[in-house]
């Protein structure tokens, strides 16, 4: 329950950052996708039904706030969680480079899913033409920020668990 509350608050905070303050960063049109990093974290360290639902809800929250159609990011984030869940059986994440690499690949999965779903449900003409550049830029930015976000999440989780242990 405490962890659920932690991830709920972190999700709200990251969504808030993504829709306001992160737009001030001088990195062109790309907004760092910190919620994607959180979904990857859930896939790696919380491979549970709660993690899957959490990823879905995080994507759905983005849809509510800023997608042209509901369900688009919910699908992409659920797919990211599933991909990370399957790949986490084969990899052992202990250093920031591997973390970045996993987030980079997850961002590529998410970008591709967004483009494909947009092509099917939004019928945007020529949407895929400029998409490759956006997918790569977004993936690189997310990969660079991933170790920091992971470290903060791990610290928050450790704190909550320690607090819980002491309370018991």
């Amino acid at each position: 329950m405490r962890l659920f509350l932690l991830f709920f608050l972190v999700g709200i905070f990251l969504l808030l950052l993504q829709t306001t303050l992160l737009h001030l960063l001088p990195i062109g049109p790309v907004v760092p996708d910190l919620i994607l990093v959180l979904c990857v974290y859930l896939g790696l360290y919380h491979p549970s039904v709660g993690g899957a639902l959490g990823s879905f809800l995080l994507g759905y929250s983005i849809d509510i706030v800023s997608s042209p159609i509901l369900g688009l990011n919910a699908f992409a984030m659920s797919l990211v969680f599933l991909s990370v869940y399957f790949s986490s059986r084969a990899i052992w994440i202990q250093n920031p480079i591997v973390t970045s690499l996993v987030v980079l690949l997850a961002a590529l999965v998410k970008g591709t899913a967004v483009v494909l779903i947009s092509a099917v449900f939004l019928s945007v003409e020529g949407f895929w033409i400029g998409a490759a550049r956006y997918i790569i830029m977004e993936a690189l930015v997310a990969a660079v920020l991933a170790p920091l976000v992971f470290a903060l999440l791990r610290r928050g989780q450790n704190y909550i668990e320690k607090f819980h242990a002491v309370a018991q």
């Binding site: 899957a52 990823s55 983005i62 869940y85």
Partner: protein
Amino acid sequence: MFAFLHRNQVPLSSFCCLLLSIYILAAAARGQIKNEPLSTFLMWIMRPLQIASQGTANWIKGFQENYDTLAGFKSENERLRKRVQTLEVERQKLLEAEATNRRLNQLLDFRRHLPATPVLASIIANSANSWFQSCLLDKGSADGIRKGMAAVTPLGVVGQVVSVTARTAKVLLLTDPNSGIDVLVQRTRSRGIVSGSLENGTVLKYVKRSEDVQEGDRLITSGLDGVFPKGMMVGTVIKVSKQHLGLFQFIEVLPAVQSARVEEVMVVAGEGDASKN
């Protein structure tokens, strides 16, 4: 059977989430989803936070711009620099108040020229990802905003309302690849559709090769889509090219309104919509 479900509960629940997403997508694409409770709940939480956060972002943006001015004083001594900084913060507050006053006056003047009674709204959040260009307003259905209304400023068109909750409204910006605005070239009255694109910024589509369109031509709303009032500035043509093949010209457009710099908008019903009221 139960053991199988228990062993694969994570992939199965993920798969269910994927199916649910596709169901929501299909329902949303058919326009069957209206004001579901989760949106209202999330917006209820997010709205005050976003107003505060966007206020901070606007303050930082303003401060950054003013900091460029401050950089010229680097060579002066520390005492004067601190004094200037203090004065600059105060000046920033006054300038901000003056700029807000000027903007609101312009909006009030502009309001008189609109066909229906507009709603003045502030932008409290921008798009959460790089793919789609949208923003969130601090007014919603409780203030009279409905889906399909136009968001405009005295400088021109900003976008269209695509969803509303009681206290917020989501606007799809002109620069989004999903947007499409019926426009006229002011000089020649040629028609086309202005839309965003990931590849080339904002473009004017479906203008025949034979039509006379030149760089510098101004584009205005035709009013035929029933969303935007007729004659509003949309943008200026900055590049025209005719490829070897194809029926249409390739035209790049500089939007009249730089959405990143907009803080308040007027939300107004289009001519078609206004006549219904």
